[in-house]
Amino acid sequence: MADFEIRNLRASVEGKEILKGVTLGINKGEVHAVMGPNGSGKSTLSHTLMGHPGYTVDGGTVLFKGQNVLELETDERARLGMFLALQYPVVVPGISMTNFLRTALNAKRGYDGKDKSKQVTPKEFRSLLKGELEVLHMDDSFLPRYINDGFSGGEKKRAEILQMAILKPEIAILDETDSGLDIDSIKFVADAVNRMRGPDLGVLIITHYTRILEFIKPDFVHVLVDGRFVLSGGPEVADRLEKTGYSEWAEADEPAVLKPEEVA
């Protein structure tokens, strides 16, 4: 069994079935890409994994560290080691990025306002931030600003990856992180993610386009069409999509669906 195992996941939005049985195993150390045309269920997959309130789980399990994370609250999933970089990061007025990052890091460490030994010290926090900001080519002027408030598209996405770097998840889901980014921003984001790659991190990149995969090389690529995987393989799958796009499935009335055991 994989470190993070999605089994026959089915989910719907406002009563409409979107995910029709998704099975995928991700091990730490691996980078998986899920690609698909618009409306195929990519965002539903990422949001459902994190417990977004707008999505309803209709069936299946997601096993991580011996627990079915679908039964956990969103914040419990995060503290267990999951992270979702959102396609559209939320603007939260009134809360500074610094406060947000520090509170999240404290929560991850189990600091609940009582046991001060678990609390991140100001010095440690500063030095942690400093290194990551450099990698992402961000300056610290954005730290006192409210969460994502007035950030450009590129700043928002970089801020997502900064959060990931600070929180050090074991399973990271990057939802369309490349959308709306200029080429420099993509490179900075990719650099940061590549630095984090290693035996302690499994990554699931969700993307419509192959562009980000030029910078973050995936080990496996899966193609999602109409809520099911239709193709699964190594990086060569992305190369094929680069040439042909999703037309071969768009034209088929009933695309051939992979059996769970056929997903790499």
């Binding site: 994190m50 969103t74 995060a78 939260v92 007025p93 009134g94 809360i95 509170t103 929560a107 409210y146």
Partner: protein, 400 residues
């Protein structure tokens, strides 16, 4: 000691109050006896039920000057800062023409009762051109439940005077029942700059009535900040009259209502002359089964051209059973003005909650951060640091 004429005379003679003040108490008492209890037929009281309030139940008047003044280390020469009743004796020329001239005793039964029986309170007079750097702090304590505590603050700022003042209303027993009032009259002279903060922390079962009213002369600037946290029932009026060109009133408030608390706010921005500015923002959060009512009026009088008035009331509703009502009103008799108003009532944004929780922040912490964030921009407008720190700490303790 019921609320009778005899009690009133007793209070007056206890401190040897001057005849004019006795007379004023007397006419206020007459108004109290004459005026009916407000009923739901009155527009102002339509959503505010006082039928359960019988002041006679709490007619034991607590410590007749239940107030502590925290003096700045040095007061500039000419400044008068003393208990109001002492000032009435010592400085009738300053007090007599002003006391209850902004907050009218006969406005309703409760203002009348307050004016007839007020005990304690502060008088602050800052002469022309005088600046006080450190804030002046008046603390009004209630020591036991079942009593009445009725302090009154009178502030007079001379031409070009500049200072900050804090009224803090403090209950020793957080669950006390009782009758509390805390009213303030502010006279902001020409070109003066006055910061005024009132923090109401009476016990959770008290009945509270307050009238905070200011009058601004030419080029005067007032930054008033009201904080309402205590009492089971709290009715507060915040009113500013802009009487001189160039006058500028900033009226801000925060309130946090929980449990069964009911808060009522009534505001007035009265632009009597032109080239005046008022900026009002009242922000509140409600949880449990708390209820709040906000009704605010911008009045621009006929000759008040080029007035600029802004009014907003924002409510964050944290529970399905809490309810906030907001009624903004405009009364404009001049076309050459700029007026903006707005009201919002809404729950915590579920996407914001999801976002914070997706970073591992537990639900209760995330909610608290969002409430603090909601208050953040208005907290920044508290006119001086001492009050800002006090309010932030108080809020944090109450948000749990």
């Amino acid at each position: 000691m019921p609320f009778t004429l005899e009690t009133m005379e007793e209070i007056a003679s206890l401190h040897g109050e001057p005849a004019w003040l006795r007379k004023r108490r007397r006419s206020s008492f007459d108004a109290f006896e004459r005026l009916p209890a407000p009923s739901r037929i009155d527009e102002e009281w339509r959503r505010t039920d006082v039928s359960g309030f019988d002041p006679g139940q709490y007619s034991k008047l607590e410590h007749l000057d239940g107030q502590k003044l925290v003096l700045p280390s040095t007061l500039p020469p000419g400044v008068i800062l003393k208990p109001l009743r002492q000032a009435a004796q010592d400085h009738p020329d300053l007090v007599e023409p002003r006391l209850f001239s902004l907050v009218h005793a006969d406005r309703d039964r409760f203002t009348a009762l307050h004016a007839a029986f007020f005990t304690g309170g502060t008088f602050l007079y800052v002469p022309d051109g005088v600046v006080i750097e450190q804030p002046v702090i008046g603390q009004h304590f209630s020591h036991e439940g079942g009593t009445s505590v009725l302090p009154h603050t009178l502030i007079v700022a001379g031409k070009g005077a500049r200072f900050n003042y804090l009224d803090e209303y403090i209950a020793e027993d957080g669950n006390e029942i009782g009758y509390r009032s805390g009213s303030t009259e502010i006279f902001a002279g020409e070109g003066s700059q006055v910061g005024y903060v009132a923090v109401q922390k009476w016990g959770r079962n008290a009945w509270h009535f307050a009238d905070q009213r200011a009058e601004l002369q030419k080029d005067a600037s007032l930054r008033l900040f009201n904080v309402t946290l205590g009492a089971r029932f709290s009715k507060t009026r915040v009113e500013a009259t802009l009487q001189g060109q160039g006058a500028d009133a900033e009226l801000k408030a925060i309130y946090f209502a929980s449990g069964e608390q009911f808060f009522d706010f009534h505001t007035l921005q009265d632009h009597q002359v032109g080239n005046t500015r008022s900026d009002l923002l009242f922000k509140g959060a409600l949880q449990d089964v708390a209820r709040t009512v906000y009704a605010g009026l911008i009045r621009i009088e006929k000759g008040a051209a080029r007035s600029d008035a802004y009014q907003a009331n924002r409510n964050l509703v944290l529970s399905d059973h809490a309810k906030a009502t907001s009624i903004p009103m405009l009364e404009i008799d001049n076309n050459d003005v700029r007026c903006t108003h707005g009201a919002t009532v809404g729950p915590v944004d579920p996407l914001s909650m999801f976002y914070l929780r997706s970073r591992g922040i537990p639900e209760a912490t995330a909610k608290r951060m969002i409430v603090q964030g909601f208050f953040g921009d208005v907290l920044d407008r508290i006119p001086f640091e001492h009050a800002r720190a006090l309010v932030e700490a108080e809020l944090e303790a109450r948000l749990g």
